[in-house]
Subunit: 479 residues, 2 copies
Amino acid sequence: MAKDKKLVEEITSMDVDFAQWYTDVVKKAELMVYSSVKGCMIFKPAGYALWENIQHELDRRFKETGVENVYLPMFIPESLLQREKDHVEGFAPEVAWVTQGGLNDLQERLCVRPTSETLFCDFYKDEIHSYRDLPKVYNQWCSVVRWEKETRPFLRSREFLWQEGHTAHATAEEAEERTQQMLNLYADFCEEVLAMPVIRGRKTDKEKFAGAEATYTIEALMHDGKALQSGTSHNFGDGFAKAFGIQYTDKDNKLKYVHQTSWGMTTRLIGALIMVHGDDSGLVLPPAIAPVQVDVIPIMQHKEGVLDKANELTARLKAAGLRVKIDDTDKTPGWKFSEQEMRGIPVRVEMGPRDIEANQAVVVRRDNGEKITVSLDTIDNDIKDILAKMQVEMLERARAHREEHTYDAHNYDEFKSIVNSKPGFIRGMWCGDQACEDKIKEDTTATSRCMPFDQEPIGDTCVCCGKPAHKLVYWGKAY
Amino acid sequence: MAKDKKLVEEITSMDVDFAQWYTDVVKKAELMVYSSVKGCMIFKPAGYALWENIQHELDRRFKETGVENVYLPMFIPESLLQREKDHVEGFAPEVAWVTQGGLNDLQERLCVRPTSETLFCDFYKDEIHSYRDLPKVYNQWCSVVRWEKETRPFLRSREFLWQEGHTAHATAEEAEERTQQMLNLYADFCEEVLAMPVIRGRKTDKEKFAGAEATYTIEALMHDGKALQSGTSHNFGDGFAKAFGIQYTDKDNKLKYVHQTSWGMTTRLIGALIMVHGDDSGLVLPPAIAPVQVDVIPIMQHKEGVLDKANELTARLKAAGLRVKIDDTDKTPGWKFSEQEMRGIPVRVEMGPRDIEANQAVVVRRDNGEKITVSLDTIDNDIKDILAKMQVEMLERARAHREEHTYDAHNYDEFKSIVNSKPGFIRGMWCGDQACEDKIKEDTTATSRCMPFDQEPIGDTCVCCGKPAHKLVYWGKAY
């Protein structure tokens, strides 16, 4: 293997410099390039195909729960953005403003949407009149803009792609149910499709979304021990409804405010995939999300019959419903192996003259390098089994990594010691006072990631101030 | 039927006021509403679902021809837009400008993309080095902004959704081939899926895209006799390549410029669907594109067993691969019929106690009102046959309408008489002088729609100036 490695340009080892490893991988796996627009990136085919697969699977799951897709304008008039006080304070400092249209100055500035709560509210106030018009469970797939100063591919850029669901309900209970339903949908998607385990929990008031009553989050642990917020779901109560006047006549003939939610997932999931599963040879993609699942690589392809047999196998695997490509370029097999590894294609199939003679091929798993000799009689089903097993084992491996990097801290000395020496999640009790969150962040740069739904207290005093505490919190440094 | 009509709010008759009919239909069929952002519209679920189906089918056809999807930023720095002279002149007057990001003024204005040729060129110049890097056949699905003064739902709005393909090739021949291939793909899609016949042809120099050597177009005729440009494909030659310096080393080791194309289709196709197939009862959707193909409407649903049987039928039709909904609300059947008609659902199935007793149901076609009694034993296949027949007949009907509204003009008097009295396409020979196009447009508001690929001369003198002419042109008033 060492010999083959030299065939592709080297990437920095993740243990030497994780940030540089990440940058190398996104470029060498051809996921993206920077554009000449500062802070904005270009999704290349291999990167965009990941997003298409994420979209496809999420959208299918959304629709099963009754979500309908819509599309709202990308511009928000300044006066509309300002309607809800907390919301505008949260977003106004980081939006891009359109001030000229055609050859004229606009009478009112328009911001390019950083998120669309205000537009959906403005839309719903005219659409919702009676309890018969509820619930509204709408979603849109679009790009949004936030004028960030520091950017990183997929993780933080001035423009990114996402979906944003916005719902309106007759009752507070129904809104809360939808908020949690979507968070659980996100979590299941991450675990089942991205093979990425997540902690499900609630954000503290300090960390919640601008304008929300409650924000729920899923938090994943990257390979370097830093946390990544991977999806959020917000319950707005009737705050936006009151700010925008979204009322309906209920069955009892009384005028009531609706209760609203919103929830979103973004292209940063691609960054998560890279940082949870990748290794020093490049990307490692879970089979369920990989644009190409099988790379057929003929060995000694100049020998008579090899290419024919490889093409035949490719066609057969495609017909079996697998996503397959054949690499019949004139590169050496070693080079092809390294490219397949760099791109994270879950398995490669090596097949040369001797394999063909023996009616077999060698399947090599990307995640653990295991080589499995399979009969050509059963190879289609064998590969499906190998991919299914790999999908399960990738989730288990990521979960084991997270468990190994989750630490309990019972007092502030312990906390600081862990935060300085052991990258990962730190579980610690919290008194509920924002001053402790602020202090922890200032002292250590770690933030409260969430209060997990699964609350098993590990003590009864705050990890920061030592006062009585009832809430278990996951803390960590985060992207 | 007249009785039922009153149950839904009335729409203006298309013969009385076609523009008002159109506005009524897009609103009453709940395809869109205006937003509080001037010139921008909201796609409601029924409207967006049409776009999703168009996307799905076009994207599938694209990928069969080797297209790969990417995503480029929505912002274009002013200096980049200005790189190709004709292009900037065409677009600069109608773009929106971002001048502030966060709390600061930007050093350089960014326009919100009206189209992305310049960004793709800037991208390609760094991606393409060798003949091995060619061709590049990329596409993106996104929204674009053009600061129009007059807007109409789906047909013209400040922001619209589209796809834009951008390709780079080693030779002029290959670029020309791709330009025509995509135009034919568009035309086949319109005819096979939207049941909308189109004229395939080339734009005159006056009407071609800003910066293109040649623009090919498909032109459809709406019910009111006005033309709608429904898709375009442009061959840029090496003009952009020279402006942006996109060169590759060929097999002969010489440095050469690439040849480029771009091609796009937009959400105005939804407007086309409405205006080609709609009638005074509302939308009429071709089965191949309809989000819901079958509306099951139980009759006397309070009678025992009716709802059960209707639900059973719905499940069975879904299992057969049809897109089905059941209307089990407490509205009257007549009201439900009118709603199904307004929304253009291709067929409804009426089933009441007597039908059930006779082991049958009544299938009613939306396009011609035909009522077909079918046995419950074979109803799934029967409905598939009915939908397939309807799809074919809708195309035939639209083609017959176009033929009836296509006129030949041999001189300017004939031309003016037709243009004033007979809405439709006018076929007329053209000398090739732009002065004649300008005169015709000024005198009549008709424009040259295209020089059809199928060139059968109908004379040898220009329909405007009477000088020798060799080119057949389709003329018409257009949206």
